[in-house]
Each structure stands twice: as structure tokens, then as C-alpha cells.
Symmetry: D2
Subunit: 374 residues, 4 copies
């Protein structure tokens, strides 16, 4: 296979993170050959500077031109959610493998169109994937393995939360992330999406119905011309019924003072339990009821052994890795799937399914919490 | 004031815990004089043995006879919930100060009758209190002080949970606690009651409406004659709207493998945050946003300083106390109120209000999660 | 057996703690019958008040008179270290069972005399014990069980420390505890003694030689008439060679800002490891190398199960106990030994042996750290 | 300034880690331009593969040839310690800036020669640095800032340890790291070196004298032809006297079961304290005695704010970084010093000074622990 030509679209936070992953994945993992061809952004000067800094051979301001190039096989979309559908559908139509940042889209309608485009492309051997990168945190991949191996027995109860505090300050300013028309939703789409995806990923099953609640604590925030209304949620809560009968709670907030990036997951089964916190992402706590009663306890597995997912390629035990490598691992898996001709996961369809869960949470919130089937 | 004569009714788990508190409170705190007069239980032999062991001068099998005694001024009711109303109302009518274990009663109707009896008694200088003992854990009393002092600013979000695992094993046997007719409810009344009470206590405000969900994971359990249906919940979830606009989530379970007595509270306000875990009850984590940004962090206050609530009477700093002393502190406060002629808190009315919150959670669960006003 | 008559000598910090233990041990554990007869102190009024408060039938100002009483069989000595030898030797001579607070004595010479007296008494069925109460913390008793069962394999390395901070403030005042003539030593005798005893207790073996260092950070402190010289150590360090070839480090301080009562023990063996912290005394961390590599981790055992040492008499799992009950358990074990006619441990000889280790640390410090055999 | 041409010598563990740093530092930080020119190793095929993988333009088997090249300005030495002196001295003589992995050398004699060479080179504007990379962990850089700002007051006591367990298994095999002639020493040079350097770095002062102890728990290990003697230490202990009067303890081990990479530092001063653990390297615990007593506690600062050292170039708060970036930061600082014409730190002289501390620990161990001046 020739080296895959890669284009990343977007050079802000996510563009920087994905670029770091592209810069490193080949040095750490055995993946098909690829080349960091082009970085795309609207501002020519800034994009050129970012391209040079982040290791891209060229920069470009028009993503459509990139789709026309024969030397680009992979398009990695890091722009805001409202642009995903248009770019991804065009890229797939142009025969490019597509990785798109989560959320898949801002609306279920857009997401449905993307899923259709992905299905058409896949029939032609062109693959797509949505960027729920936390699936690739080794501790969470290990959690899924333990659940799949039955080490927790029947899963009954899951407690998921994702707490941040960058909106705790009432004077934190207005931005596109706080307007419904650009962001779709607030904490719900931004971070509850991760929690919902992870619960389904780790448990290996789907949500059937939800009850939910959205809340905006700070209804207006300072913009350039004075206070503007915030039209998305600051926080969201839900209880999810899963196919197996398990129940999961979800609580997310961007106004939880003191929590910086606290994606926490607790999973309780009949034979064991797990606990994870993204602020300590190299650790997984495991409670094993099969041990003698007097010796049971949550044990802190430092997920840095060669036998742990992704870790054989890294450092000796105890040498922890950072948040950024959830992206490195994501690209590794994406590349391996392209090489093997195997559809990567999470697919656009999986991304859409998460959207429908979020959508049902919104509906439930509007309906006073009444449970909504999916 | 003459020494108060005290009777405890019930000698099982709660009777043992309350007896320990009566045995110690006078040795640690400056409280009015009292005497451990009589322990009441149905089984004469067992009650006599318990009385001797736990430091009671006499034992008795009929609580009604105790109410007739002139040398008894305080009745402490530690029997199961379905007996509370009858005993408490009779005791108040007999002019005894009454402390009753939580929950106040198994039904709202019973609780209402108790509140009326308490009001009548209070007009005669006879006081009553319901045993939400965790209010007297020093770290939680400190939490309330910090909130009341404005150190957290506007409270926005509270995460409360109480997880135990003594029903995680499907083969754990049937008991009166698992039948609706004797227990009223399951985890809801048993432990969600504590969470609801504490949220209102620490925040100093009341719940206005709720959305809730109950679930029974193990629908039948072995009894003496084979499997019997479990008619109460194993776990419960709720979101509570509070008067101030704050939202609280509640999650409780008696099937959360690995959690033994994990009553956890997280409180997020505009200026700070708190975290508490009953399994580490001598600690309170406090995040203070008023500190310089680069020095902020959750700090683990070891709540053993003389300046902390209740602690001046105990040991030097760092010498931790146990769960049992939530009861010692409860009795201290009860006795001081009796001495001062001041109604103690939580009153029966407060206990009833918690019941109505739990009742609304049940109704919401039956109504597919639809929000219920109080 | 008739009820044992008990006298406690001393009503300050330790007298209060031992009194609490005597008040509760019979209510919790199955022990021989005893009666709280008399509390002894030099100040008649204060002692009488303490006796009433702590549950003693009488008070007394002269410990010699107590030794003459026929209704006293047990003498529990809670006075400062310089008084231990005289009282204990007299009490044993008078045929009383003796429990003496640690350290056994302020000097090795005194301790030797006490050991001789104890041996003479034991030959007449009169028993003695020194109060290294932390052996009776359930988590530490469990640690010893795990080591004895070989769960850690060959022990190689132990890290013991005991850090407090009540002398961190340079203006903390002068007291008898800071004068060599009254206290014997500083942190060494006060808290390193606990660490040395525990290391030997948990490992089940003795120290053979030591290298040590003492340091006084604050050489003078305010007394009633101005600054006075501090003549004991604020902190001490040692490395201990044990019989098996294991090495242990000891670090203690009363000036370690932020540490209140942090007695920490880490034990590393060829098959596992343990970690304990007195500030979280209901927990024991256990690392078990026999588990599959990818699942290994320090697990936090909440030492509150009925199968754990001392716990079957207490509360349900997860209901933590306090520091004070190390004394309750100590008295339980003492009483059970008296009943069984079995010498209790730690004996005076064990207490002397700890003194000789501390003495060797002092000598080594004076000799520039040169290793000293015992 | 033209782009600096960079050569890395060595492609094993450290060569991989340094390569990762070179691959990323320019994408994250504003540093002078540089080019990843050549990777040097003895095995031509393996080196060529590593060069391609790690992003080096060329590979080379003879480090001397690299020194002759005009397009190389920076030589980064990642080979075992016994080769450092020869390569570094030659590179400096050839006018190359030199970064050398720690320890500086295997013997004090070699280290002295390197210091002389570095001094000569520096007079010609050629700089050198030794790779104590943990100085560049943001939390430890923050620790130094807090100490320097006086936030801890007078430092009295430091507890440093570095525990690993890769030699806990008696059957772990023989290697060059376990022979004195190749490794110089065992845990002492390998990991105690880091602890000693960090203590001096964070405190900003030097060790004056030491007492120490070395121990080999497993005296022989399996080699290709049977058991071979281990001639270095498995573990080491020391107490260090610092210039200010502070005392530091050091404990290191490569046989501490369950500890993977546990470099821990606790610093106690008159006004505050700090705690750090490399296994949670994004966190720093800070106890601030200036706060009101009842609110004091160790607070867990998540060192990911833009105001923290090195962090403004990384991700938003709460997005943790990995161990590898201690090297990225090290190279950033090295490059900035080269650009500014300012000698980087730690210099070879600082590296030598650490060696002399380690040497004194060895001497003290051989002298039964007797304190050795530096």
C-alpha cells in the first residue's frame, strides 16, 4: 500500500490535538504508512503557521480543493459541529476515508444524512469513523475487556458523569459554544455525548429509553455588545435504561467548580465493579467479588503494563501517558481498519445513535422528565 | 434539673448504636444529667442480656408500661419504621420527650399524625426529634457552616449518592426490609432519605419538585420456604429542584458491589465546592475559588480540629472518630435542646417533609419519570 | 470469676482514652466481668469530676492506697513515663495485673527493673502488658495476619513513618514533653516507639542493629519566664536491620506541617505489599502479586467486615470505627488473657526491647550515624 | 539563527524518549528552529529502522563521524552511563552543544573530566546540560516556585523516595544494569540520583553531608549461563544534611512490589508542605498553614492551568500530560538557553555534584552508616 495522504481540516483545539496524534502515531505504533500532507483552515496566514508548527507539508484554505486531490486518501475533520455534515458527505463522495470529531453533527437530521453517505462509501471500500476518542484511553478499553469477559457479572448500575468548570464563572464570556444555532446543545452534546458513548461502549449494549433534564444556570453572558442570552444547557442529567435491564445515570456540567475534566464512570455488576476518572486516566479501579470477602477492595490498577490495551508500544510500567494519546490510539485503530479493509468503530451509525439518545434526553427534559423511548 | 430518665425501645442494630451513644455522651460532652433507666424489647431474655451489656439499669418487654413511669422523661425509639407512629404518639401524649429513628414512619399518613402529636406536645414543652444522625457528622456540620457562610457562593448543583452492596448477592435472603408492607420502601426510605435530608440540611433550603425512578434488580430472593417476591426497590434515582434554583441528583443502591456505606455528597457553587464520603467521615474536601487560580485544588480537611463542630470535646487533631458518634452528637444536641426548652431539629415536621419528597419520587417513578411538585 | 476491680491512674489525655475503653469494652465484646472502681489523680477536685464523668465509682489521690485495696485486681497506668516504673513495680508486687501506657519507661534501666518485676509477678499468675495500642487497630492486626500467612512472601523493605505537626509552630510553648529529664526523649520515645513496635509486630521478628539520627529544629521555645531550651528531638530517622535480612526505615516528626497523626506503614515483600495510614485507620491497602499482572494494583480493603480482626463485635460493613477503639481492643485482649491465665502481649519485655532499639538509635545519632548492634 | 542540526546517540529506551521530545517540542513550544538530522546506534539495521520511525532524516553507526559534521550543532547522548564521558568530551571539543542523559557518568573521576570539558566549551559559547528531566515536570517546577516564594517558610524536613518493582521478582534476569563495572551502581545511581537532584532543585540548596546504606536483596540472578552475582544495590537509604539545616531522607528501591515508578517527594516547612508522586505527575498537593486552621488541608492542585510552568503551551485545564513531556520541556529549556547564550541547568557541574552525593552515600554505607561530609 502506498503511503496514505492525510488532510486535517481545522487547526484550533481539536486540530492541534489531532495533529499531535498524526505526528506521533507512526513513531509509536505499527501502522500503515501515511504522510501529513495538508492542514486546512479559513485564515491563510494562521493556517500556514499552524501547518509548519504541527508538521504538515502544506496548508490550504478551501477544504473542497483538498477533496479534489489524488494524493489525499484520509480526511480528518476537526471543525465545529455545524460544518461536519457538509464536509464529511463531500469527502466520502470524493472517496476519502473520513474521521470526524464528535459530536457527529448538531442535529439528528444531519447525522442521518451522514450515515447514509457513510453506508454508500463503505460499499465502495471507503471508511468512516466518529471521534469518540475516550474509547481509546487504555483504562477504558481495559474496562470494556473486563466487562466483556464477565468479570463484573451482570451489570446493574452505571454512574457516569463529566464535570468541568469553565462556565462556573458568571462572567465567562459568550461564544459559539453557548448558542443553540451553532452548538446544537451545551454540555449535553459536548460532554454527555462522551458519557453516553462510553457507557454503551464499555457495556457493549444500547440505551432503550431515557428520562432527562437540562438546566442553564447562567442565562446570559457578556458578549462584545453587552449581555447575550445563553441558549444551551450548562448541565444535564439523565437516567438511561439499557437493553439488558441495567440502569445508568448521567450527570454533566460545565459549571461544576473545581472539576476540570472529570469524566467519571462507575460500573456495578453482580460480580464486581469498576471506577474511572479521566483526570487520572492511567488508573482503573477494579473491585472483584470473587476474591475472599476479607480481602476485597477497590484496587487501583496502574494501566501501564505491556499487557494493557495500547501500552505495549509505549514506555515501561509506571511511566504514564497523557490525554493526547487517546487521539493517537484512535488514529492507530482507524489506520489499521483502513489497511485491513474492516469498518472502524465508532461508525457514523454509532455516532447517530448517540445523537438520538441525546435528542431523547432533550425531549424528556421538555416533557417534565417523562421517559422517552429511543 | 433532675437527671432525665431515659428509655430506649429496641435492642437490635439501632438499639445497640443508640445505647452506645447514651453510654458515652455524658462522658464526652457537657449535657444535662440523665440516667440509662430501661431498655425495652419483645424478647425478655434477650432484652435483659442486652440491657446488662449496654449499660441499662433495667429491661422491659412492654413499651406501654414504660410510658406510665414517672421516672422516664425521654423515650428513644429504635424499632422498625412501621411501629414508630404508635409508640411515638403515645409517648408524646404521656409527656415524654421523643427521639425516633429515621424514617419517621413508613407512610406519609402516619408521619402526618406524628407531626400533629409533636405539635401538641411541643405546646406543653415536650420535644421530639427524628434521627437523621448524619447531620451530626462533624464534616457535614462543617459543610453546612461553609455553605451558610457563603463560602461556596450560589449553589448550583449537588450530587448525592448512597451506595451499599449488601443486596448485590442474588442469594442474599429475604427479610422484612424487602417487603413493602413492613419496610414501606427499599433503598428509597432506608438510604435516599438520608441523602434528601442532608442535601436540604447542608444547603438550608427545601426541595420543590422531583423526577425519580425506582428499580428492583433482583425480583425474588430465598426465604425459609423458597423464593419470595421482593416488593421494594433495590435502587433509586432522582433529580430534585430546590427553592433557590439549584438542582440535586440522588442515586442510591443496596446492590452497588464494593460500596459498603458510601454516602457521598458533592456540592458545586459559584465560589467553591465540597465533597464528602461517609466511608472517610473524618474528611471534608473543599475547593475554594477565591484562592489564586494556580493554587486552587480540592483540599482534604481532616475534620478533627477543636474548632470543628463537636470536636473540641474529643481527641487531639488527627485522632479520628467513628460512625457511632453521629449518634452521640445527636443525643448531645437533643439533650441540650431539652435543657434549653428549644425545639430540636430535625423535627417530626422535617421528617415528614423528607417523606413527602420520597413519596413524590415514588409517584414520579410510577409516572414514567414525570416531574412531581411537592 | 468475680468481677475484676479496675483502677486507672491518671486522668489526662491517656486517662480519658483508657476510661472510654473501659466504659465500652464490656458492652461490645465478650470479656470477663469487671467494674470501673476508681480513678486516681493528684488533684482531688479534678479527679473526682473526671471520675464522675468517665464512669468511675470513686476517685482517689494516692495510688499507693489503691494498691492496698482487696477489691482492685487491675491497675491501668496512664501517667507520664517517668512515673511508670515506680507505680508498676509496686502494683505488681501488690498482686495487681498491670497495664502501662507506652513507653514502658523513660530509661532502659527503669524498664529492666520493670521486666524483672513482671517476671516475678507472672510466676504468681499476675500479668502485665504495655500499651502499644496500635497493634489492636484492625487493619494492622490484619496486616500481621497477611504477613504471617505468607501472602507477602519474603519481606524485604519496610517504610515506617509517624508524622505530626503540633510542634511545627515555633511559638508552640514549652512543656514537660520537651525536656529530657521528664520525657526521656522527644519524637523518638513518643512516636518512633510505636513505629518500631509495629514493624516488629507486623513482621513477627526483631531488630538486630540500627543507624539513626535525631534532630531538634526549634532549639528553644517560650515558657512562662521566657525562652527555654528544648532538650529532646523534634524528629528522628533510622534504618533498622531485621533478623530476616529485611530493612526498615523509620521517620518521625512532630514538626511535619499538615500531618496530624500520620502513622504510615508500607511493607514490601517478594509476593505482595501493604500500606496503612492511621489517619484512615479503617483501610488497608494490599498489593497481591499472585493476581494476573494486568489486574494487579493496590486494593483498598475497608477493614470493617465481620471476618476482620475485632470487627465481628462492631457494626455492619462500612460503618467505620474511631481511633479510641484501639484502646477498647487492647483492654479486651488484656482481660481475655487474664481470664485465660495466658501472658498478654506486648509484655514488659517487649516494651524493654523497643526501648533498647530507641536507645541504639540515640547512640547511633551521637556516633554520626554509625550502625549500632542491639 | 539557522536551524540547529540535531543528533541523538542511542535508540533504546532513552533514545526513544528523547526522540519523541525532539519530534514534538517545536510543535508545542516557541523554540529556535532545529532539524532532526541523525540517529546514531551500533546496529546499522536497527538504527536505520528507528531513525525512520522516530523521525530522523538519517542514521549512523559511528558517533565520531557525526562530530565531524558541520550541519550538526547539538548532540544528545542517550547511551549507557559508561560511554557518556568519552562521547560528551569529544562532542564538546568538536563544538557541539551537548545534552547527556543522567547519571552524568559512572564515576566521579569521569564526571570531573566532563565538567572540565564543559567549562572549556562554555568559554567558547558551547553549552552542556545533564538530563535530570524530572525538574521539568510542571508540578515539580511549581513546587520549586512555591518554595522559592517562601510559601513553605523555613524548610525543615524532606521525605524523598523512588520505588519501582522490576527487580522484585527473584527470577528477573541479569543485565548490564546489575553489574558494577557497567552500571556503576544500582538503584543508587539510577533513581536515587533523581531524588537527590530534585531535593536540591526544589529547595534551591545543596547537601553538606550524608549517612547512607545500600542493600542487595537478591544476590544472584539468572544469566544465559546460569546464576550470576549481582554486584550493585537493589535499594538504598540516606539521610542528607542540607546547607540550611534541613534534613532529607532518601529511600529508593527497584524491588518494592507494586510500585512502578513512584518517585515521591514530601516537603515540610514552617508555613506549609508539599507532596508529589510521579505516578500522578499532573498533581501537586499543597498544605498552606496561612489559611485559617479549620480550613487547612492538603489540596490537590491539578497542575494543568495556563499559569503553571510549561502548561500554557499545552491543552485546556484538566487535560493531563504524560511522563514523556518531561523530556519535551527539557529540550525546550535547552534550546532556549542555546538561543539566549545562557548556560542551561542542570550543568555538568551540577551533575557531578549529585554524583559526589551518591558517592558519599556509598562510602557511608561501607563505613557502617557513619556520616560523610561532601
Amino acid at each position: 500500500m502506498d503511503a496514505l495522504g492525510v488532510a486535517v481540516i481545522g487547526y484550533a483545539f481539536m486540530g492541534k490535538a489531532h495533529s499531535a496524534a498524526w505526528r506521533n502515531v507512526g513513531a509509536v505504533f505499527d501502522v500503515p504508512r501515511y504522510e501529513q500532507k495538508v492542514l486546512v483552515g479559513r485564515d491563510a496566514t494562521a493556517t500556514a503557521a499552524a501547518a509548519e508548527r504541527y508538521g504538515w507539508a502544506e496548508s490550504e484554505t478551501d477544504w473542497r480543493r483538498v477533496l479534489e486531490r489524488d494524493d489525499i486518501q484520509v480526511v480528518d475533520i476537526c471543525t465545529p459541529g455545524w460544518t461536519h455534515a457538509e464536509i464529511a458527505i463531500a469527502a466520502l463522495a470524493a472517496g476519502k476515508h473520513v474521521l470526524v470529531e464528535k459530536p457527529l453533527a448538531n442535529s439528528v437530521t444531519e447525522a442521518r444524512n451522514m450515515v447514509e453517505a457513510a453506508a454508500r462509501a463503505e460499499s465502495r471500500g471507503v471508511f468512516s469513523m466518529v471521534g469518540y476518542n475516550y474509547r481509546r484511553v487504555p483504562a477504558l478499553a481495559l474496562a470494556r475487556e473486563l466487562v466483556a469477559a464477565g468479570r463484573l457479572g451482570t451489570i446493574r448500575q452505571v454512574k457516569g458523569s463529566y464535570l468541568q468548570d469553565w462556565l462556573a464563572d458568571e462572567n465567562a464570556g459568550m461564544s459559539w459554544r453557548l448558542r443553540k444555532e451553532t452548538a446544537g446543545s451545551g454540555a449535553l452534546g459536548d460532554i454527555a455525548s462522551h458519557v453516553v458513548d462510553l457507557i454503551q461502549f464499555v457495556l457493549g449494549e444500547k440505551v432503550r429509553s431515557v428520562s432527562g433534564r437540562l438546566q442553564t444556570f447562567v442565562p446570559s453572558r457578556p458578549g462584545p455588545d453587552g449581555l447575550e442570552p445563553v441558549t444551551v444547557d450548562d448541565a444535564a442529567w439523565a437516567t438511561l435504561d439499557l437493553e439488558s435491564g441495567a440502569l445508568a445515570s448521567v450527570e454533566v456540567s460545565r459549571a461544576a467548580t473545581g472539576r476540570k475534566n472529570a469524566l467519571q464512570l462507575e460500573i456495578y455488576g453482580s460480580r464486581g465493579a469498576l471506577r474511572f476518572d479521566l483526570e487520572r486516566l492511567n488508573e482503573l479501579e477494579f473491585f472483584d467479588s470473587d476474591l475472599p470477602l476479607g480481602e476485597q477492595g477497590f484496587r487501583k490498577i496502574l494501566v501501564t503494563e505491556a499487557s494493557h490495551p495500547y501500552l505495549d508500544a509505549w514506555w515501561p510500567p509506571g511511566h504514564v501517558i497523557g490525554w493526547e494519546h487517546s487521539f493517537s490510539h484512535q488514529i492507530r485503530d482507524f489506520l489499521l481498519c483502513i489497511e485491513a479493509g474492516r469498518p472502524p468503530s465508532p461508525s457514523f451509525a454509532e455516532g447517530l445513535q448517540v445523537q438520538t439518545v441525546l435528542d431523547a434526553i432533550s425531549r424528556s427534559s421538555a416533557a417534565q422528565g417523562t421517559r422517552q423511548p429511543l
